[in-house]
């Protein structure tokens, strides 16, 4: 009991998420044992890949503080998918599609970074603006039409499954999370990011190049969204102008649920990963039980409020 009481912050969140996850799995086990097949695991991971990548970007941006947030992630996903497919139509060699897609994401993310660091527009507003611009452009440039013509070799990668695990998850999502985890925990860079988020003034005083770091992190969030766009292209076989719809809200939910403090400086990527898994497992479980999808949004919302309150209450107990 005492040990549970001593849990706090990220550890408490992780414990809570794990507990919730086990509850979800147990409930499913009782109600519908047939859910537990390899195919279900594959499905869950398949639908986690895009959300996981985008949420990771969202998480590092928030972690670095300065009221950091990226509302434009969904817009970046849509626009980089569309921009790279349009470039393909204009004669870009098809083997350059993956780098073009990620580069487009990087550029769009870096633009956010410029608005935030060079023009000192508050991140919420800057990325709200680019959210409108990016997602609007993706629709306006195509008139809403899906862009087909993804090269077939890319589809082999995007739809491939290796011993039950979707290849994009294995080759993009896991490496990104591993690298982000290592960087945050064991390198000076990681300590800078936490320091920036925890107390920006002292971070500046000790000589951390806060603005440059923040610019890079917004760019990184763009890279991750670009990677998510690439996964969507390779998986669906076409670029769709609204593929990133709702990703800003979902990634924000995952990051918050995963214990990233909205003010920055607290939380880790493990929690974000766990939160993405919980969210997608929960959705899958509800679908498998044929629960009306209207309950999904409400349950996820209630879960978010619940975790926030639990985090808050844990500070009263002490």
């Amino acid at each position: 009991m005492n040990r549970i009481r001593n849990l706090q912050g990220p550890a408490l969140i992780l414990a809570l998420l794990a507990l919730l996850w086990i509850i979800v799995i147990l409930v499913l086990l009782v109600l519908k044992p047939s859910v537990f097949s390899l195919a279900t695991v594959t499905t869950i991971l398949q639908f986690s890949t895009i959300l996981a990548l985008v949420s990771l970007g969202q998480a590092v941006v928030i972690l670095a503080g300065g009221a950091g947030i990226d509302l434009s992630v969904g817009g970046i996903v849509s626009l980089s998918a569309i921009a790279s497919m349009l470039a393909l139509k204009l004669g870009l060699p098809s083997f350059l599609l993956p780098p073009a897609c990620i580069l487009a994401g990087a550029a769009l993310g870096a633009f956010n970074g410029v608005l935030v660091t060079k023009l000192s527009i508050l991140p919420l507003i800057a990325t709200l603006g680019t959210f409108f611009v990016y997602s609007g452009l993706a629709l306006a440039l195509t008139g809403g039409a899906a862009q087909s013509g993804v090269p077939s070799w890319l589809l082999i990668w995007g739809r491939g499954v290796f011993s039950g695990i979707p290849v994009p998850f294995l080759t993009i999502a896991i490496p990104f999370f591993a690298i982000a985890g290592i960087v945050l925990m064991w390198t000076a860079w990681g300590r800078w990011i936490y320091a920036m988020g925890f107390n920006e003034r002292s971070a500046r005083l000790v000589g951390i190049p806060v603005d440059r770091a923040r610019l890079i992190l917004y760019g990184l969030s763009g890279v991750l969204s670009g990677a998510a766009a690439l996964v969507s292209l390779a998986w669906l076989g076409s670029g769709r102008p609204n593929i990133g719809q709702n990703l800003e809200l979902e990634s924000l939910t995952a990051a918050m649920l995963g214990g990233i403090a909205i003010l920055g400086g607290r939380g880790g990527v493990g929690g974000v990963f766990a939160a993405v898994m919980l969210l997608v497992t929960l959705k899958t479980g509800l679908l498998q039980l044929n629960v009306n999808t209207v309950w999904q949004v409400g349950i996820v919302g209630a879960l978010l409020v619940f975790v926030l309150l639990a985090d808050r209450l844990s500070q009263y107990w002490r």
Binding site: P33, F36, V41, T43, L287, T293
Partner: protein, 328 residues
Amino acid sequence: MLKHIRKALAISALSLAVSTAAFAQDKPKVAFVPQLIGIPYFNAMEAGGNRAAKELGVDFIYSGPVDTNPVDQLQIVQNLIDQGVNAISVSVLDASSIAPVVEAAKAKGIKLFTSDSDAPDSGRAVYVAQATDEGLGNTIIDELVKRVGEDAKIGIVSGEATASNLNAWIGFMQKQASAKYPKLKLLEPQYAGGTAERAAQISGDLMAANPDIKAIIAVASTTCPGVAQAIETAGKIGSVIGAGYCSPNTARSYLKSGAFGFTVLWDPAQLGYLTVWAGKQLIDGKAFEAENKVPGFDNPVTYDAAKGILLLGPPAVFTAENVDKFDF
């Protein structure tokens, strides 16, 4: 994390054998995945599907996304496949997006087919059509010309720009107009997303921009109230008529006020019934005939083998005179 996945894998290996045995004794399962839940049109299809399920002795599952988001729809279809539902019908949001699940369904021997909105080249088993896209596009233009004449300017307000069925209808409207009525001027389609408010805003702006506009077509059923309301508030009843693909219940008061001249629709409950019936046929391995006798249908349902389309019949036109005879 990995531990849990491993645990889930271990359990799954055990339960797979049990579950397949259990499924065999159940009634066959037919699912329908609409484009969006919570709108009257698809609710009516659900009701029809439920009725069919009872009469034909199948289990009917109705599950769809809360936003018109193709990935959410894909996830629902994928989960139905994982559940081992015998036949799955989808009202496709975005024709090319269902490609990944068609393969998955084939691999598991599940009958995946489309209903209400098609994905022609996806390899689906059959398309249960309310009417042909061409028929729908043509009907609305022909009916409008009857009312406003050939020499008229007509606006188009659609829902999501990405909805492939709506875009197909618009395409046929434009084709019909240029082929048959060269004087008719169709304005560029505008997209309101899913909200009546935006549809009203855009329709109001369209009427201001084109004082000589004679009619506005509401392509998505979600845009009908907004278009009609804009015509009412602008005080243009009589000089501008609204039309669209909306259910009699949604359009009734607008038809009576004169804001709407007519709406074109089929009976979505019948379409839902036909969808479940088609699913049952596919599960039973029965081929579709050129003309099929479906219980509860007055006329035989035609099947176009070349295109793989099962056709409900010609669309109905609802006007102020006949609207009270219908309740859906």
